[in-house]
Each structure stands twice: as C-alpha cells, then as structure tokens.
C-alpha cells in the first residue's frame, strides 16, 4: 500500500482567493504554491486570518479559487463542474471537521459508509471492519452520534474518512473541540493511518502539539506561505510560531 514519497497527492499552483471587491477587498490567499506528498502527513499552521482554512477548503474542493489551480493527483479540480467536484470529494477525498462531522439521524456505521452509500457503491466490508477495528469502534457501530462522546464522534469521522480509501484526507482542526486525551488519540490514529496504510493527510491546526504529529508543517501568514518545517517537534514549531507572530 505504501507509495513512493516523491509522488504528489495534491498541489496548488498560484492559488489566489480574494473576497469582496474594491474597498472591501480582502486577499485571503495571495498566489500560494504548495505540494502535499503522497503518504505524508502535512500540517498547515498560521495565526487567525492567515488563510489556512481557506487554503484547505480550496484544495479540498469545498471552495473555489479566484485564480490559480488545484490538482488532486492528476485531476485539475478548479475547472470541474459542481457535479464532478462533488464526485471527486465523494470518491477521492476524506474529511474530518472540527465539529458536526456526523449526520445525527444515521448510526455510526451508516455514517462511516455514507460516501459509499451516496455513490451507490457496494461496501468493502473487510476494509471497513479493519478501519473500525483500528479506531476501536467495533462495539459502538449501531449507536447514533448523540449517544457517543465527543472523542468517539471524531473517531467515527476519521473512520469515515479512511473507509473511502481516499487519495487525501483533509482535517480541519479535528481536535479543536476535544480534551487532550481524546485529542492525542485522534492524532495517533491519523499518524497510524499514514504510517501503516500510506494515507496522505493534510491537517489545519493552530496547536503546536498537534502539528508535531505531522511529517511536515507549512506556515501561512497573510495568505502566503512563509516557512516550512520537516520532521517537526513541539518546540521547534512553537519557536517558529512565536517568530511569526512578532
């Protein structure tokens, strides 16, 4: 399952996102070039308003760029129709959001298999079982989201993202609402997914401790990439963050 690390799973070229017009114009992304290697765990960091979430949303096909290009594998998604884009999200990408990741009327299992159901695909039971086992949810599959703890809900979300065997998983502050124990659990699952399954993950976070789980950290400020770190530690990240804030 492991892919050569030099392969690029997703990349943005000259990604520009401008909100508003004239006097109220705000440049959220000012021509960002970035690549996310396959089988890599990348963290995107930056202060509030740095454009990190916008970058994630645009690369993940949830939002459209004002100009520039985004590639998922070899597919250039900025030119896709709404319908094609939806299919890319459904079939090639996985998502973990900060909160409200699950459809409250569906059970944990139904949530995990939701993208497959939406696609009308048959479910790869063996794979789902393995993913479910990995996140330790086997006994909770028939529960509804309201019957699960916050940490468990996020684990279901991770399982859903993995169950789809996506090219890339995008995680937007996946531990933002969790206590530290549940947080590190989730981050370990993500780490394991990269190490054991060769999964590509891109995660937005503002927490150095979380970012330290990644292989690489990209720093964003005022809509531009200002720095990056490979094999980061909590300390080295915290140092960069401080220097960025000055």
């Amino acid at each position: 399952m492991t892919m050569p690390t030099q392969t690029v799973a997703a990349r943005a070229v000259g990604a520009t996102k401008i909100y508003g017009r004239g006097d109220t114009e705000v440049v959220a992304l000012g021509g960002v070039d970035v690549e996310f290697g396959a089988g890599q765990f990348t963290a995107i960091m930056g202060p509030s308003g740095s454009g990190k979430s916008t970058l994630l949303h645009c690369i993940a096909g949830l939002d459209r760029l004002t100009s520039g290009q985004v590639f998922i594998g070899e597919i250039e998604i900025s030119s896709l129709s709404e319908r094609e884009l939806t299919e890319v999200r459904r079939d090639r990408l996985g998502f973990v959001f900060q909160a409200y990741n699950l459809v409250p009327t569906l059970t944990a299992y139904e949530n995990i298999t939701l993208p497959a159901s939406l696609a009308g695909r048959s479910i790869d039971g063996e794979w789902v079982d393995r993913v479910v086992g990995a996140v330790g949810l086997a006994s909770r599959l028939s529960h509804r989201p309201t019957e699960l703890s916050g940490g468990q809900q996020q684990r279901v979300a991770v399982a859903r993202a993995l169950a789809n065997r996506p090219s890339v998983i995008f995680a937007d502050e996946p531990t933002g609402n969790l206590d530290s124990k549940a947080s590190s659990e989730i981050l370990r699952f993500l780490r394991n997914a990269v190490d054991e399954l060769g999964q590509t993950i891109v995660m937005v976070t503002h927490d150095p401790a979380s970012a330290a789980f990644a292989d690489r950290v990209v720093f964003l400020s005022d809509g531009a990439i200002v720095d990056s770190l490979t094999d980061p530690t909590v300390d080295s990240i915290a140092q960069r963050v401080r220097s960025l804030e000055q």
Binding site: L62, D63, T86, R90, F97, T105
Partner: protein
C-alpha cells in the same frame, strides 16, 4: 419588549412570509364571500326598491300557512277583483291596479327552443293602464290591445331572435299549455333594461286571468295614494273595509319583506361559503404553531440571552405574542384588501355570465367584514402562538451558553392519552349520532367528528414514527440513502411531522367524507329509482321547475302508452298543526307506475279526496287508516282528508300523497313536475319513446323525455356537480396545507444547514439533497393522506347513515376515492417540497459547514 418583537420579526421575516400568506388566504376567502353577499344584497335591495317604486300600498291575501312565504308564487290564494273596486273607491287612493304575477312560464324562441337563462325564473304578468304601479315600462312598441298580444322583456326578444310584430309561442304551466301570441312591444324595468336576467311575458289582464284560471281574481292590488294623503291613514281605512283574510301593506313593508327573504337565502349561502374559509383558517393555525415552534427553537440562544439579561418569562411570552399579533395584523389587513379585490372580481365574472344583482353597484366592503376579517386573522394567529410562546418563556438562561442540539422532541404522554380518549369518544359520538337519525344525533355526530379530528391531531406525534417507518420503508428501499435519510428526518421530530401532516389531513378528511357521501347518494339514487318507480319513461322540465298540465292531456290518446300519471308537488302546508309537504298522482298510478308498497289501500277513498300517508309519518303521529286529517291549504283554506292507506316505499313522493283531482281543489297553482308513462302490452320501449316524443317533442321544447337509465344519469350528474363544487372550494384548504408543508420543510432545511453542508462535503450531489427533501415531504404528505382518508371514510359512512332519513340508503365503497386522495396527497407533498428542496440543494457547502 415591543422593540424586540419588531426586530425579531424583521430579522426573520422570510420565515414568517408563508405563515402570513396562510392567514392572508383564509382572511381573503372570508372577506371575498362577505363582499360578494353584501354587494348582492345591496343590489337586490336597490332592485326591489325600484320594483316597488311608486307603490304606496299593496293589498293581498293573508298567507294561510303562515311563515312559509317563498317569494313570488307563494301559497297565498288570489283575491277577488272586487277588492280592486273597493280600493279605487277608498278615500285617499289616487290609483289602484289589480296585478297577476305567476312564475313557471316558458317563452319559445324563433328556433323552436325555449329561451331560458340559466335557471332564471320566467314570469307572466298582466298589462295595466297605470304602469307606474309596476316595475315595467314599454321600451318599444305599444300596450297589448287584443288578448293574443304580448309584451316581452328585451332578453327574451334578443336571445329568442324574436321581432316586434312577429309571432311568439308561450307555454304556461297550466291547462292553457302552449299558446301563440303577436309581440306588441318590448319591456324595460324602471331605469334598467334588465331585471337581473329575469324574463317576463305581459298579457292583457283578462287573458292572463283566463290562462291561470283566475277569472275575476288578482294576485295583489297595487295602490298609489293622493299626493298629500297620509299613507298610514289610507292603509287603516282600507284595511277596515276588507275581510280578515286580506291584508294591506305599505310599499316599504313589501320591499323589506322581499329583501329579508333574500337576505336569508344569501345569508345561508354566504355562511356555507365562509365555512370553507374557516376550515382554511383552522388549517392555517397548524402552520402558525409549527412556524413559531421552529423559530423559537432556532432562537433559543437569543431568548436565553434575554432571560439572562433579566427578561421575565412573562415578557418573553409577551414578545412572542406581540410578534404573532404583528403578523396577524399585517396578514389580515392584506387579506381583507385582496379579498375585496377577489370579491369584486367574482362579481364582475358573475355579471358577465348574466347574474348581475349588483347592477353596476360598487363592491360593498362593510365595516363588519373588516372587523370579522381582522379578529379572525389576528385571533387565530395569536391563539396558535400561545403554546410556542409559553415554550419560549421556559427557556433557561443557561441555554445561551450550551451547544444547541437539533430538537428531538419527547412524546408527551398526557397529550397522547387525551388524544386517544378524544378519538374514541369522537368515534362513539359519531356512531351513536349517525344511527340516531335525529337532529340531536346529527349534532352529536358533527361534534364527534370534530373531537375525532382533534384527537387524531393529538395522537399525531405517536403515529409519526411508525408511519415514517411504514411509509418510508418502500421509499428507503427504492432510493437508498436519500430515502433512509428522508425517513429518519420524518421520524426525527414527530410533533412537527404530525402537525404538518394534520394540516393536510383535515382538508383531505372532509373531502373524503363528502366523496363517500356523494358516492352513496349516487348509488342510493339508482336503487331509489329502481325500487320506487315502475314506469318506463319520465318526462320532466329541462330546468328545475314544473311544466304545463296540458302536456299530460296531449298524451291521453297515445296508443303506445299503457299507463301514465302526472306528478305534482305542493308547497308546505299545515296538516294536523304541523308543516308537511304533499305530492299528487293519478289514482291508477298507485299500483301501476309507482312501487309504493301500500297497506290498507282504499282506491275509492283515495280517488275521492283521500290521501295516502307514509308509514313513517303515520307511525310518528299515531294515525290510522280511516282517520280524517284536518289541513290548511292555499286554495281551500280548511280541508278534511281521510287516510286511504299507508305506503312504505317513499321514493320521490312526499309524506302525504293525494290524487290530482284532490290536489286541484287544495292548491292555487297547478303544474306538473313529472309525467310517468309505461308501455302498453307488447309495445317496445323504443316505440313508446318515439310515440311520446312525436306527440310532445315540438310542442313542448321545455321538457325532456328520459328512460330509467337517463333519469339515473341525470340525478348522478347533479350529485357529481355538487361534489365538484365542494372539492373546488376545498382547494383553498389543500393549498393552505401545501403552504404548511412548504413552510415546515423550508424551516427544517434552515435548521439542518450544517447537516446538509456535511452531506454535500462528503459527496452528496445537489440532486441527492433535493431528492432527500422531496421524499421527506412525500412521506409526511402520505401520512396526512392516510390519516385523512381513514377519518374521511369513517366520517363519510357516518354522514351517510345519518342521512338515511333523506333516502340515502346505500353505502358506497370508497376505495377509488382513497387511492385518488393518496395520489393527491403525494403530489401535494412533492409540489410543496419543490422550493425547500431547491433551497437545500443550493446551500453553500462552506457556509453550511461554517455555521456556528
């Protein structure tokens, strides 16, 4: 707090638009019916003042029956011509004229067909020198100088393609039958050309009296007093010289009497129409409850903040009620405006098809209309908002800081228990009332129906989940995940689902009940005709009225006819102190042409002034065969009638049946409503029919000849027209309940913004989201449809049973109706969901995710 209400309303105005629209529609309908009936009233008032203009006093016979005056052609006897001479010689009287005024005439056009305007009455009147005392004036031509001359109204002349100086045939509903006249001129009515579409044939006085077998008699005498005479004084003088069975009224009294009679009729008509408006408002109340409940739950943080800042629960209730009041005021005011426009528009349409009582009168917006519209609109809106307001007031200040979860309502067992008890009690009352067959029974049944409806509404939340599973099962199987999500959404908030479905249920239940009743009536008509009539052919007027008695005479020597009888119906009379209706047939018909199933029938007694009495009436009043009944009749004020037998099968007969000869002694007016005929032995039906049509076809274009099947068809058609009109009026309610589904779904979509965003993010196509919403609407609508048709069938069956006394004896199977109704429900649901589904599918993914 008013400021908070106002701001709250403005901030959420989109959410209240549909609520307001529902209220608006209900108020609009109610207003429109008032405008329509008020304008018609004012129109007729003006018309009657015109008719009676110039008449200071009127002399006429006292109604022997009392209180049963049904306008022109009522049961008053004629008065002797001597009364006219007396009036003329009374001091203070300037002019007096004796007038003949009889309905039931047919004018034959140039093409040989009857000139008739949509069920409008056609009158025969007499010419008098003082035309000022009548509403007529001669517009063209001259007064009739010979007995064979006639003046006609302009409608008859134009529509009949007739010419002044040319011939015209007039058919009288008396022995005179069809007569030919020369048209001497054209009449107009006061300052108007048209008497609201009514037609009139004016004959010379002696001819009019002769034709109506009223020689030396008048129906009334119209009087103008001397310019300076006191009307009341003249009235007193005149009255004192007249016998007690003749009365004198002022022109004003006559006008008021006519207006009052019409008021009553239009009033009933107006209330029936308004009933649909009230049902619509009732349904609108459900929408209001849902909207406020949802909006309150969406604003829980805002309310909690207000509470935390020190607003008391009372103030919160006040704020929510104030919002509802603002909506009620706005919507009712708009509803009154739109209703006024709608009423005026319908008035114009009616005028176009010839019904123009307004006669160019501006539509009337009475202050009462405004008051009723506003009170109902505001009242219903505020009442429906009470429960959501109380719920809002229960918001704890802490809710502001908690994460708001999508509402999952808990079943309220008190409510469900009371709903269950109410439904059972309702059914019990319904069944008891239906079989009791009395007035109290009918009231109990109606009350039971209402309680059953309300009980079902209360039970709704309990039914919503199982219904979602049952009805949603096939949906989920067909459409996979979208269907499953839809089903889950239906079950998610049973209360909301139940209220939405109930709104639809009410309209559909009423429609279903009427469908069952109509189907039963149609089947009853079939068996009624088969069981009560033995004749092969039925001859009847093509309009609603009767026809000339001459027709029966013309058939006497048709060889193909084995037996025939005329059938007459009389106005209500008093028999042994109680109002009763009488029919008349020829003695031979009792055994041959009808299937009365008589008991103790004495043909001799019957033929000589006796009567057959329905077994039911005889039982009720304790009458025996051989008893003599005392009755008060129009012609022969007091009559004694021996009972010549009883009959069990009533069919088309009234409770008392006399012979035609007896009838002629008792009633002033003679006209036949049916002639029944059977073939002579060995004569085929076709031959009989041909012979009958040849004899009367050209001569009486105003009658139709029907065999048994055609008779059934005609009766069925009338029932179907009733059903069509009823269902048409129910569309208002259906439309309001569709608004309800639309509104609830649209609000639910807003509520589920994040969930929908999530679905879109993980790969739901827009189309899939739309389908999900459509399926949801369809399940809710089908729930409404199933409940509605279920209750409707029960109501319909009860209604049918309750009307057994009115000869509705057969119960019809309602399956076709049920299927039709479910289809209507499903389509309504799909239609209602179009906009919410579109909205949901267009939600911006990112905004949906980012919503906090």
């Amino acid at each position: 707090m008013w400021k908070v209400s106002w701001r709250g309303l403005l901030a959420h105005k989109a959410r209240f638009v549909l609520t307001a629209l529902a209220v608006l529609l209900g108020v609009m309908f109610i207003t429109a019916t008032y405008v329509l009936t008020d304008t018609t009233n004012v129109g007729f008032q003006r018309l009657f003042s015109t008719v009676n203009a110039g008449v200071d006093l009127q002399v006429r016979a006292v109604d022997p029956i009392g209180g049963s005056t049904d306008g022109p052609g009522d049961s008053r006897p004629a008065i002797p011509a001597a009364v006219l001479d007396l009036a003329r010689s009374t001091e203070g009287v300037a002019e007096a004229e004796g007038l003949v005024f009889r309905p039931g005439v047919s004018i034959v056009g140039a093409d040989g067909e009857v000139v008739q305007q949509l069920g409008r009455p056609v009158f025969a009147v007499n010419y008098v020198d003082q035309l000022d005392l009548t509403p007529y004036s001669i517009r063209e031509g001259r007064a009739p100088e010979r007995p064979d001359e006639v003046l006609l109204d302009s409608n008859s002349v134009e529509d009949g393609d007739l010419t002044v100086g040319g011939p015209v045939d007039v058919i009288f509903p008396t022995d005179a039958g069809r007569q030919t006249f020369t048209i001497a001129g054209v009449l107009s009515f006061g300052d108007q050309e048209d008497f609201s579409g009514a037609q009139v044939a004016m004959l010379e006085t002696s001819r009019a009296q002769e034709v109506f077998e009223a020689v030396d008699e008048f129906d009334f005498v119209a009087i103008a007093v001397e310019p300076r005479a006191d009307i009341q004084a003249v009235k007193r003088t005149l009255a004192s010289s007249l016998p007690p069975d003749i009365e004198v009224l002022t022109g004003e009294q006559v006008t008021n009497e006519q207006v009052a009679q019409l008021d009553q009729f239009i009033g009933i008509f107006g209330w029936v129409l308004r009933g649909f408006g009230f049902v619509g408002m009732f349904v609108a109340a459900f929408i209001i409850v849902n909207t406020f409940t949802i909006v309150v739950s969406q604003r829980v943080r805002e309310l909690a903040l207000l509470r935390a800042l020190g607003a008391s629960p009372r103030q919160i209730v006040g704020a929510v009620l104030a919002e509802s009041a603002l909506i009620g005021i706005t919507a009712s005011a708009a509803g009154i405006g739109v209703g006024y426009i709608l009423g005026s528009f319908i008035q114009t349409l009616l005028a176009k098809i010839g019904f123009d009582p307004g006669g160019g009168i501006d539509p009337v917006l009475d202050i009462r209309t405004v008051v009723v519209g506003l009170s109902i609109g505001i009242g219903v809106t505020m009442l429906a908002a009470v429960v959501p307001a109380i719920r809002a007031a229960r918001t704890r200040p802490l809710a502001a800081v908690r994460e708001v979860e999508a509402v999952t309502a808990v079943l309220n067992w008190t409510r469900i228990t009371s709903g269950f008890v109410a439904a059972l009690a309702g059914i019990a009352a319904l069944l008891w009332g239906a079989q009791a067959g009395t007035r109290t029974g009918l009231l109990a049944a109606a009350g039971g129906a209402l309680v059953l409806l309300l009980g079902t509404v209360a039970l709704g939340p309990l039914l919503a989940r199982p219904a979602a599973v049952l009805l949603g099962g096939p949906v989920a199987a067909i459409s996979g995940i979208n269907g499953r999500l839809a089903r889950a959404n239906v079950a998610r908030n049973p209360r909301r689902t139940a209220i939405t479905a109930s709104a639809l249920m009410i309209g559909l239940a009423i429609a279903m009940a009427v469908m069952v009743l109509t189907a039963s009536v149609i089947r009853s008509i079939d068996s009624l005709i088969d069981e009560s009539i033995a004749a092969d052919l039925t001859i009847s007027d093509s309009g609603p009225g009767g026809f000339t008695t001459a027709l029966r005479n013309d058939l006497r020597d048709v060889a193909e006819i084995g037996g025939a009888t005329a059938v007459r119906y009389g106005d209500r009379v008093l028999v042994e102190g109680k109002g009763t209706e009488v029919s008349a047939i020829e003695p031979d018909a009792v055994d041959q042409l009808l299937r009365l199933d008589t008991e103790g029938f004495a043909p001799d007694v019957f033929a000589n002034g006796g009567a057959l009495v329905s077994a039911e009436l005889a039982d009720e009043r304790g009458w025996q065969v051989g008893d003599v009944l005392e009755g008060t009749f129009p012609k022969n004020a007091l009559a004694s009638i021996p009972i010549a037998g009883t009959f069990r099968v009533q069919g088309f007969m009234n409770d008392i049946v006399v012979s035609i000869e007896t009838y002629e002694d008792l009633y002033k007016e003679q006209q036949d409503f049916f002639v029944l005929a059977s073939a002579a032995p060995g004569v085929e039906l076709d031959a009989l029919r041909l012979a009958v049509e040849q004899r009367i076809g050209d001569r009486y274009p105003n009658v139709d000849v029907k065999d048994r099947e055609e008779l059934k068809d005609q009766q069925r058609q009338q029932a179907m027209i009733f059903l069509a009109v009823f269902v048409g009026l129910m569309l208002l309610t259906l439309f309001i309940s569709i608004l309800g589904i639309l509104n609830t779904l649209a609000l639910s979509v807003i509520e589920r913004t994040r969930e929908i965003g999530l679905l879109r993010a993980v790969g739901s196509h827009r189309r899939q989201i739309a389908f999900m919403v459509e399926w949801e609407a369809m399940i809710v609508a089908l729930l409404g449809g199933v409940l509605g048709s279920g209750i409707g069938v029960v109501l319909g069956l009860a209604l049918t049973r309750a009307l057994q006394d009115f000869q509705v004896t057969e119960l019809a199977s309602p399956w076709q109706g049920v299927i039709g109704l479910l289809v209507v429900a499903a389509v309504s649901g799909l239609f209602a969901a179009l906009y919410p589904a579109w909205r949901a599918s267009r939600l911006d993914v990112l905004r949906a995710i980012a919503t906090d």
